[in-house]
Amino acid sequence: MSEKKEFWRWKEYRWHDESIDWKGADIISAGVDIGSVSSQAVIMADGKLYAFSNQRTGFDSPESANQSINWAMEGTGLTLKDIHYTVGTGYGRVNVPFADKALTEIACHARGGNFMYGPSVRTILDMGGQDCKAIRCDERGKVEAFLMNDKCAAGTGRGMEVFADLLSVPIEEVGELSLSVEEEPEPVSSTCVVFAKSEASALLREGWPKNKVLAAYCAAMAHRVVTLLERIEVKKDFAITGGIGKNSGVVKRLEQELGLESLKSNYDSQIAGALGGALFAQALEKKRRSV
């Protein structure tokens, strides 16, 4: 039997800014976002992004947290002792052994989104691995309204992974492929991952090509999150964080349905939560030193 390819697997990587010398920094802060599917660690030197890592979460949250931060520090000469303040966030935030404080991902995504997309961003949609958060914030990244749906995996990254696997399409190519349809199909009627998957199997049996099935699923996902967003009132500017932010098939359809363009950022949309955590860590360390 040929080796089974893991189509859902996305790229894990790390990065650091070689132009920054962390030894000269007054405050080194870190944010560690342990999500249900992915984990990120972000390290900042005096409020500047210095290093980050982005990987899958294992079954052991404390271990994932250690791996994330160690990978972000790799090759920089930094050790845990050099980091003044660490904020843990995400689904596994209470399981970050070296964190000074745990904050909700709602607060962190608003703050991180504000940094990544600039102060004009008012509505942030975080499409995570297993939940979906709609956040409205002010020009300083403070939360004005939020809503989180973590009861069901519809409209989340995990659902998209399941579809990538079902159709044997690498997850990074799902978006583009779904946009290659000549005519938009009807969205799949159910967004529940389990029901949508069986509906998709039926469509494939009817002879639908892969791109059409993906288009139907991306459209259903977009429609579902739009109904969530309406509850918190969408205001300009709008941005999408989390892994699905990289899926043009969902993003384009969401933009169409909302009649709003989403902001683009040079930063990886998956690090928003950890980045927000690092920003809070920076502020909290300052507060700690001032008393």
């Binding site: 909700t104 607060a107 403070k142 004005e144 309204a145 939020f146 749906n149 009861k151 109904t227």
Partner: protein, 105 residues
């Protein structure tokens, strides 16, 4: 507008979920809420808790929230207070003198 004075804006915290059968959210206006805790004993199913605001790390005042373990089953937890006919006022909404609590369904 207590928060407006110190330059902070109001926050509406929506707790709950949306599933195939509908939207089940309890919204708490954290600008109106002063953390008095009157909602806690008013709810027959102890849905509310009062504590440090996890979504606003820089807020000093406590705030009411829907307890973590209740957030995914509000449809059922709140059901006894929501009969189909002649629905009386909800005890939590009535107990909150500042009008900070509302239900989406």
């Amino acid at each position: 507008m207590r928060n407006a004075e110190c330059g902070l804006t109001a926050m509406i915290a929506n707790y709950g979920y949306k599933d195939g059968s509908g939207d089940y959210f309890i919204a708490i206006d954290t600008d109106k809420c002063n953390g008095c805790g009157d909602c806690v004993p008013a709810c027959p199913n102890s849905v509310f808790v009062v504590g440090e605001d996890p979504n606003d790390p820089l807020r000093d005042e406590p705030v009411a929230m829907v307890g973590e373990q209740e957030r995914k089953k509000l449809k059922y937890t709140c059901n006894p207070c929501k009969p189909d006919h002649d629905r009386p006022p909800l005890p939590c909404v009535q107990a909150c003198k500042l009008g900070a609590i509302s239900h989406s369904w």
